[in-house]
Symmetry: C2
């Protein structure tokens, strides 16, 4: 079995959501799976890279808004929230996901997919504990695991460790995929990843 | 005749050079032509956007170096200079190109292609007047036009006007293409441009 594709996303990133809809199928086309990891672009972009958030960056902000709009049209996706509105707090969903990855990995991806769907399609606040609990339970996460994931202080440490490990591997944006050590940033690089896997690396 | 694709590049940008090798064929596949424009990423990225140069940006710098290396392997391109070395001064070539675009447009693209080839494949300094003159003459630019392009103070104003016009349209990086008003950044977006033109816009 070939090693899984490593996939990072931030719950507040629309492009991370778009990528989440395609990464498993992309991996499966090449006999792979995808291992999902949480990322915090507030740490990577703002603190580590020392940049401004994209919406606050002249020229890049308006460009990103157009990229999102045309991606939605091309892939016939309808969002339940304005992708250009101020983002929610990414920590509650990220911590919950990090805790589940560490303690009940069989339920972690289902939670992440459900939380992304609830946030981006249903417009629900995944930084609200009650909403997050409801989404996790509906996704089949055992109730006791949900409570731990929502309240254990360890969850914050686990998320921080995930982000630190990502940065150590050069991961900086959402989405980001590492294929057998080769880094790919952005959902627009998915065709390149496909090509890379077909050719067996360039 | 459908309107041309608007193509911007900076002579110091390796990805701009890569794009220059494909933009005319991309346009021709869809019955279009490409109109080439000079850009200065030192103005757009550093001054207008307020960012650091990519090589000086943590995480992004090493990533860009890998992107360049794998693009070269994938497209079987051999460079005559280190793409990660300090860039040359982009002003002489940019000014020369801007002057030729304004005064002898029939020769402008041939000059740009020759200067890009001389710089990236032959490793020649296109910020050296003698080298620039030799390349322009070899590209078939009339000798008197070459001397004007190299020394008229108007050339600097023309380049500045090109960059200002680019920024006014939201152009910020190299390469950048505008197709019927829709902006596309990066050589990795060329497959998207192809798709956009096939579908007739999304």
């Amino acid at each position: 079995m070939k090693p899984p594709l490593q996939f990072w996303f931030d719950f507040i990133s629309p492009f991370g959501y778009f990528a989440s809809l395609r990464i498993d199928a992309l991996a499966a086309r090449h006999g792979r799976t995808a291992e999902w990891h949480p990322l915090l672009v507030g740490v990577t972009v703002l603190k580590v890279m020392g940049l401004k958030a994209i919406p606050q960056t002249p020229l890049k902000g308006p460009y990103a808004a157009r990229q999102i709009a045309r991606y939605l049209r091309r892939h016939e996706i309808t969002l339940g929230r304005d992708p250009n509105a101020a983002p929610m707090n990414p920590l509650p969903a990220g911590r919950c996901f990090a805790w589940l990855r560490a303690h009940t990995p069989a339920h972690a991806k289902a939670f992440a997919q459900a939380a992304l769907h609830a946030h981006w399609v249903e417009g629900r606040a995944m930084d609200d504990t009650a909403e997050l609990r409801a989404v996790a339970l509906a996704a089949g996460v055992p109730p006791d695991a949900v409570e731990h994931a929502l309240s254990d202080p360890e969850a914050a440490l686990l998320l921080r460790a995930e982000v630190d490990a990502a940065v150590a591997q050069g991961v900086f944006g959402s989405p980001f995929v590492i294929v057998d050590g080769e880094p790919f940033f952005g959902v627009d690089s998915f065709e390149l990843i496909d090509d890379w896997l077909v050719v067996g690396g360039w």
